[in-house]
Symmetry: C2
Subunit: 123 residues, 2 copies
DNA sequence: AATAAAACAGTAATCATTACTGATTTCAAA
DNA sequence: TTTGAAATCAGTAATGATTACTGTTTTATT
């Protein structure tokens, strides 16, 4: 197990407690329930560290905020423009493997996001 | 042909003049070469309109700025963390069709981005 | 032309994120 | 254990991309 600071453990445990793709602000509020005086800057710094270490990823769904994700495997995100819900879709394997392989590209972070209208909202 | 204002035409023509996935600021600077006193707010408003009308799309590559793209077909973006270059990879067809079809999702905007190291930077 | 609606230029405000500062904690070597 | 350098922290200030506002100009319709 990695030797993380108490603050970094708190941030990571908050992200791992949910599948809702939280924002930095939400993570901050939750982390304060564990460490009441944790600072927002600390949350941001540790989010960056956790991204760099590959423990989490982040995605952009077009609302101007960064959303974090405990699931680091390549998967698809369906983001509803109406209700804001983000749905994960597991992939059997990365459908783009052949494409970036051919281009000689070394992937580090895959973000596959489709915005649209979810089944519950389309009526 | 749609009846666009002079300013919206200028913004669209700037985007269509390049395959470099420009930011709002770059588009603003270029648009000023066509309409010297065009305002940044006008550029932003028309970028939003052009996105809503489906004439352009935008992607996020993790640098905190929105990047615009004249190519509205589903395609893959390879974004180099080292040199910042964004490479388009054409797709024969959308590899996620089966996935969101099953979920009953109506797609409007597909953003497939992989960050990593491009061939030229890997040495 | 007269009118209303839409789009504009210019500027001010917003707000997510980053940078900074001085204090605290960690931890390896003595 | 002390010691001291490096890392991390809390708290706050600054940044900067984007959005909102205001009063003016353009456009479209009668």
């Amino acid at each position: 197990m990695k030797n993380f600071s108490r603050q970094r453990e708190a941030v990571l445990s908050v992200i791992r407690s949910t599948d809702t793709h939280p924002t930095a602000d939400w993570i901050y509020e939750e982390a304060r329930k564990i460490i009441p005086n944790i600072s927002l800057g600390t949350v941001y710094r540790n989010l960056t560290e956790l991204k760099n270490s590959g423990d989490i990823i982040s995605i952009d769904v077009g609302d101007g905020k960064e959303h974090f994700d405990r699931d680091i495997s390549p998967h698809l995100h369906l983001s509803c423009k109406n209700c804001g819900k983000i749905t994960d879709v597991a992939l059997l394997d990365d459908p783009f493997k052949n494409y970036y392989g051919k281009a000689g590209f070394i992937p580090e972070n895959c973000r596959y996001v489709i915005s649209g209208i979810c089944e519950a909202c389309k009526l």
